[in-house]
């Protein structure tokens, strides 16, 4: 018995040593969270319990509320999105009107950005040392949105340096290496995508599509795809393929439904995915019409809130918000549409980030 125990200890030591040395040789350990899937969980609106779930696809283990585990309290109210830029992570807190900056490998908080103009921030994109933050903005006393804009922050000084006006209800951001595209959704009341030239920080164009432009991706031909969610109950969602240099719509696909905000693409950038309710559809990058039947019918999912594709292996990740006020679930399907596994996440999962 005793010798068995000793053997076990020795084995464990050898194994752990070999793992450590292996890591040391190939990939220096920068932190517990350097490799895996981050899930942004909004938390309960008004309860300041937005936080991040870390999922390790290799071990299948999920760790909840990692920001709290490292820093002592939840990240803040309504964690809308996470943007990674090298070893820096930006947590966009829509309710707290804050950006919290962390080391993306350890999740230790390294800074906070606040500004009187930071009112309901949505997403963040980092371009040449500047962070472009989409800001929903304030409502007037009749609940009309006054104006939305991008707030530009210097990532070194954490000071606001500029604002760039957009259309109302700005949300998703995509940088294609030349221009920054910002989709203006406003719950289906706006129909535009603003185009910003980061070299001048000016809006150079505003593309008019149809109601509710939301998620955006670039395909294998570097074309910009935009999903428009349509008007409430209007079943008039659309997909647009846009030439990002000429700003011309090359393909319009009517979806005959109100899809969710998420638009994602396979690792080879040749297949797009979107969701309507808990049904996931796919369409080829040279497709011309919407598929009539879903690729995956995610029957287990109560409230599909976000959809993403792991760029490493093409796995499809689905975030289930349940009733938006309970800890939700994430489901993983392989590229063939077979369910692989699921794991627990926090309240209202809203984005998957792969690192």
């Amino acid at each position: 018995m005793k010798s068995n125990f000793r053997l076990c200890v020795l084995l464990a030591f050898v194994i752990s040593f070999s793992i450590v040395s292996c890591n040391k040789n190939n990939d220096p350990v920068k932190g517990k969270y350097q490799s895996g899937v981050l899930v942004a969980n909004q938390g309960n609106f008004g309860s300041a319990n937005g936080d991040v779930t870390f999922y390790n696809p290799t071990s299948g283990q999920a760790e909840q509320t990692i920001f709290k585990n490292v820093n002592g309290s939840f990240s803040g109210d309504v964690l809308q999105s996470i943007t990674l830029n090298g070893d820096v992570g930006y947590l966009v807190l829509n309710g707290s009107n804050k950006i919290k900056i962390v080391n993306s490998n350890t999740f230790t908080q390294t800074g906070i950005f606040t500004d009187p103009k930071l009112d309901k921030p949505q997403y963040l994109a980092v371009i040449n040392g500047k962070a472009y933050i989409s800001v929903w903005g304030a409502y007037d006393h009749n609940y009309n949105l006054i104006k939305s804009y991008l707030l530009v922050m210097n990532t070194q000084t954490l000071q606001a340096v500029d604002t760039i006006s957009t259309d109302l209800g700005v949300g998703n951001l995509l940088y294609n290496g030349k221009y920054l595209f910002a989709s203006n959704t406003n719950f289906g009341s706006s129909s535009t995508v603003s185009v910003i030239d980061p070299s001048t920080d000016k809006r150079i164009k505003q593309l008019t599509l149809s109601a509710g432009p939301a998620g955006m991706v670039l395909d294998a031909n570097s074309k910009l795809w935009v999903i428009a969610t349509g008007t409430y109950g209007g079943n008039n969602g659309m997909l647009y393929r846009i030439n990002p240099s000429l700003f011309a719509v090359e393909q319009t696909i009517s979806l005959g439904a109100n899809p969710g905000n998420s638009l994602c693409i396979s690792p080879d950038k040749k297949t797009l995915y979107y969701a309507v309710g808990n049904k996931i559809f796919k369409i080829a990058f040279d497709g011309t019409a919407a598929p009539t039947s879903p690729f995956i019918n995610a029957a287990d999912v109560v409230a599909l809130n976000t959809l993403a594709v792991n760029p490493a292996n093409g796995d499809i990740y689905v975030g289930d918000a349940l009733n938006y006020s309970s800890s939700g679930n994430a489901y993983i399907y392989d590229a063939a549409g077979n369910k692989k596994t699921s794991f627990a996440v926090g309240i209202t999962p809203t984005q998957f980030v792969f690192q």
Partner: protein, 621 residues
Amino acid sequence: MKAILFLLGTWTTTAGWAQQNEPTLLKPITVYGLPEEKYLTGSSVVPLDSALKAHEHSRSLGEILAYQFPVYFRTYGNGMLAGISMRGTSPQHTAVLWNGININSFSLGQADFSILPAAALDEVKVHEGAGSARYGSGAFGGSVLINSYPSSGKNNLTLAQEAGSFGRYFSSATASYTLNRWSLKTNIYNLSSQNNFPVLATGERQPHAAFRQSGILQDIEYKWSESKMVSLHYWYHNADRDIQPTIGQQNATDNQQDRNHRFSIQYRSYSRYGLLSLTGGYINDVIVYNNNPGGVIRWVSAARHEFVWASFHTQVRAEWNHIIGNIANYQNGHAQEDRYDFTSSIQKNLGERLSLTLNLRQPVVSRFQAPFLPYLGAEFMLLKKARHEIKIRGSLSKNYRVPTLNDRYWQNAGNKNLLPETSHAAEAGINYRLGSLEISNTWFAQKVDDWIQWVPGQAGVYRPQNIEQVLAKGMEVRISSRQKINEVILLPSFSYQFTQSTTTQAPASLQYTLGKQLIYTPQHTATGFVQLVWRKFSSDITAQYNGLRYTDLGNSDAYALPAYVLFNFSMGKFWVSHQHRFDLRVSIKNISNLDYQLYAGRAMPGRHYNLQFTYQLTKSN
């Protein structure tokens, strides 16, 4: 007058001891017929300790009750919205009655206990447990009964001034005057607070949480004769609050103003046929949220007759509520409905030891068949000696709650055909008294059907549905005593409640909530206080404990709020000179400087202080 004396005589013999633990009740009050608790045999109606209430003169009921009753308040920050949870139910399941009129918000269904200031309330009693048959819609977890008493028979002027931490100032003046057949009382108060307390979690000052509350009360009573009188009560309360944002939130701008007009006029007449009372009421609740006003107006009229027939004490009552909702989010910004209630209550003593009551109510509400609501209660005195009493008691009841106006009329979400929630409740208990030591133990269970829940449907739009069944069961212990050691009077009191309140039926999309404890419903709740009186000095320590509270329906530990215990201390002295009395009191709140939350993400202040000065001029008639 004969009638009053007669009624007094019959209840003092059987009901007297129930109040002995509350020395404060011994102050003279006028009794018109049987006291409320006699019609709720089998459960308990406990008054708020009036000494402690006086010490907390500038505080709201939401800040006081949780130190005397095993109840929980989900409070959205210091001085902010406070919803009560009694016996494992939600804030919509406690009815607050002001002079017999339900003053819960009819749009939200719940009462905001942060805008019910002690300074405006003459008498507060708490009925724990289900009592819809007597108190109407929503009385599942309990009822809070607030009554005005126009006159004490003396001419009185009271001035109070308080100053406290975080720029908190309170002033009030009360004058009561009796002349011949007229009794008048006027009460005005004003509370303001910068409320910029240091947030313990961040070390920063709490931004955007300043508030002001003020109000006026006017009571007028006119006695035609010993047997006929008219009384009029008017209460206007105005609250203006910057809504305290979540911890760490920047750029907050939300503001809420509450304006509540409450008016009631009552005519009472005694004759050999009994006691007749006619009540008219007008309630106008306005909430102005970010400059958008919305309100509910109610006209209430009620007639009640109370009489004794063959030693059956009987009350019959009819009530009509005309409700007008003027809220922009309703279809056409308007909703209107009428509700009628017909009730009768019967109390009967069988011999010296057994007391029985039966309450029956038939509500009539538009668009659904309202259930018939009975309450049957019994008490039996097992042992009755001078220093030693044992009483067993129990009750069975059916209860209901009408969906709120929001549930019924909210544009694109409300459902006019929602069913009322109904509950079946049972409780049993034992009271034991040895000298001044009183111990009571109560076991309760309540099953609520058609529990209304707003659930997200298509495109994340929330709609209310009758989808759940909830079972709330538990046990409560209360211990109180009064000890006199030489010149020192000690008044200790303790309560503890264990409550399991779980979802027992849910639709397919909410299966994960089955067997889970309701949110913001601690399993363990305890309160305790000790009052010490020595000559003209008095001092008290009050405490409240709440166990772990889940904040999500799935009972995730990651989001739960941890257990906490809070302590307050106060010390005071009074001086009397002729007709003048001066009181000075110092209070320390949250002595241990504990960082705690009553609602997730809303900071509460650490240790803070309050200084209270009261002057009273009394002149006997």
